[in-house]
């Protein structure tokens, strides 16, 4: 088996790849939904339904399309990550005070300018919050990738179970947990960094 560090990096790669692709799809989808609001409930119940499918079952289904290996896992992660990202993008933009949208329009912003200069910057922290939740979930789910033949921290866990080696199981699980915590800390910090200064909660003086 590969060294733990390599497995951890593999693991991180798989999880981020899935979430990255989900971001590429989910953010535009969330934006689109703010313009077609009637579609929003439909899309949300659909993605929610998908989320209730057990991850093992979903991966099994995707196996038919993508075969054994990383592709299937990444596709599964993409699907799982879609809901938090789409929902946060949508609610992030929807919860912007309506007078800001009115002011933007009234100043003569085009739809695209309104989106890039007002809506997205203000919603960005919320969007990133969705990405963070998705990534942490993805780090967890990636451990079961091993049953469809991916690398990552599922390997020591799986191996440990087969060999009845508790130490191995714990090593894999603890590293995955550490990755999740690290992701949480880093993305929370990033969220605070990118929050425009004018939107940060002011410390009481």
């Amino acid at each position: 088996m590969k060294p733990l560090l390599i497995l951890a990096l593999e693991h991180l790669y798989l999880a981020t790849a899935g979430v990255f692709l989900a971001t590429l799809v989910g953010v535009p989808l969330g934006i689109l939904l703010t313009h077609y609001r009637r579609l929003a409930p439909v899309v949300f119940s659909l993605t929610e339904m998908v989320q209730t499918v057990p991850s093992l079952g979903l991966l099994a289904l995707l196996l038919f399309v993508f075969g054994l290996g990383n592709k299937t896992l990444i596709a599964g992660l993409l699907i799982y990550s879609l809901l938090p990202i789409v929902r946060n993008t949508y609610t992030g933009i929807r919860s912007i005070r309506p007078e800001l949208i009115e002011a933007g329009k009234g100043m003569g912003m085009t739809r695209l300018q309104l989106l890039t200069q007002v809506e997205l910057p203000i919603a960005l922290p919320v969007v990133l919050g969705g990405i963070r939740v998705a990534l942490i979930t993805a780090i967890g789910i990636s451990t079961i990738g091993v049953v469809i033949g991916t690398g990552g921290l599922g390997q020591p866990i799986w191996r440990g179970i087969q060999m009845e080696n508790q130490g191995m199981i714990i090593q894999g699980a603890a590293t995955a947990a550490a990755l999740a915590i690290l992701a949480e800390i880093l993305l929370t910090a990033l969220e605070q960094r990118i929050t425009p200064r004018g939107l940060r909660k002011r410390k009481a003086t």
């Binding site: 007078e99 933007g104 009234g106 200069q117 007002v118 910057p121 939107l199």
Partner: protein, 375 residues
Amino acid sequence: MLRFEQVTKIYSGQRVVDCLDLEVKKGEFLVLIGPSGCGKTTTLKMINRLIEPSEGKIYMNGTDISRLDPVQLRRQIGYVIQQVGLFPNMTIQQNVDVVLRLLKRPLQERQERVRELLAMVGMDPALYAERYPNELSGGQQQRIGVLRALAADPPLILMDEPFGALDPITRESLQDEFKRLQEKLHKTIVFVTHDMDEALKLADRIVLMKDGRIVQAGPPEELLRHPANDFVAFFFGKKRKENEIYLETVDEVMNPAPVTIRPEQGVAEGVELMRRRHVDSLFVVDKEERFLGQVTIESLNREHLRAHQIIELLDTNVPTVLAGSKAETAFRIMTEQRLKYVPVVDTEGRLVGLVTRTSMVNALASVVWGDGISA
């Protein structure tokens, strides 16, 4: 400059603006006023096409605005809203120059323009340009809201109850400031309000609306003197009476015998005096009855072990009013500074009485229910 021709807006079968004909001249300060829901905002937003009319046409400088690109149109029209709507993610500089940025003006020109505008409303550019809206007071934020509308120097400015959310004092100072500004800039302004005082103060011409129609339009004087019907008379009459409310001078409403003490008297005496007279502050006067300040029960409680004489606990920072001034002055000081009372002094500085919350209530009651109750 601006002409409405038979403009109608229908929402679910209801004509919220009904066959409106209206002309706004260049450089005119037009105020749209009327009860809530009469269609003022709808009328205003049809000018910058945030709302499209159901019927009728609006012309700007002779051009039918429905033929113009709405985005281009809006960049030529200043817009100020009640909720201010400053972009929280942008600095004051970025908020004020937003239209200039949309028009792709160079940075240096934008910075210069913002400096000039900030200076115009007495805000130091060095101090404010790089701040964010949430670091400003409500009044300052709306100043920025007005500057944002002025930045690209549009000939026409729309304002929808711009000062409506501000406290009365800030509102008045912004009205004055804006009036001065307008005297310099000569913009064409369409201004929505439901505050009659504001309309009378600012308008060249007032348009009074009701149920989507114009009831009367004319200079303030004309509406006051020759109301077209009872609705107009009522709308303005109510206000006129309010302005004539007669409030007495402080001498008539004050309590003439506040509980006093001398500075050299002992702290224990003060405590005893408060207990006997059921008061929580004492007014400190010298031999000649001249007012020096006050001591409160809080300071007595806190300091009675340390201090011996009243003078050690004297709080001299007490607002007073002059005998003979209008009761209103005292009331205003009390409301603004959240005071329970204001001492009244004569020209020699002698304490002659005390205006309290009770005197305020009694005086107002006498205005509402007639005389005879005043304290």
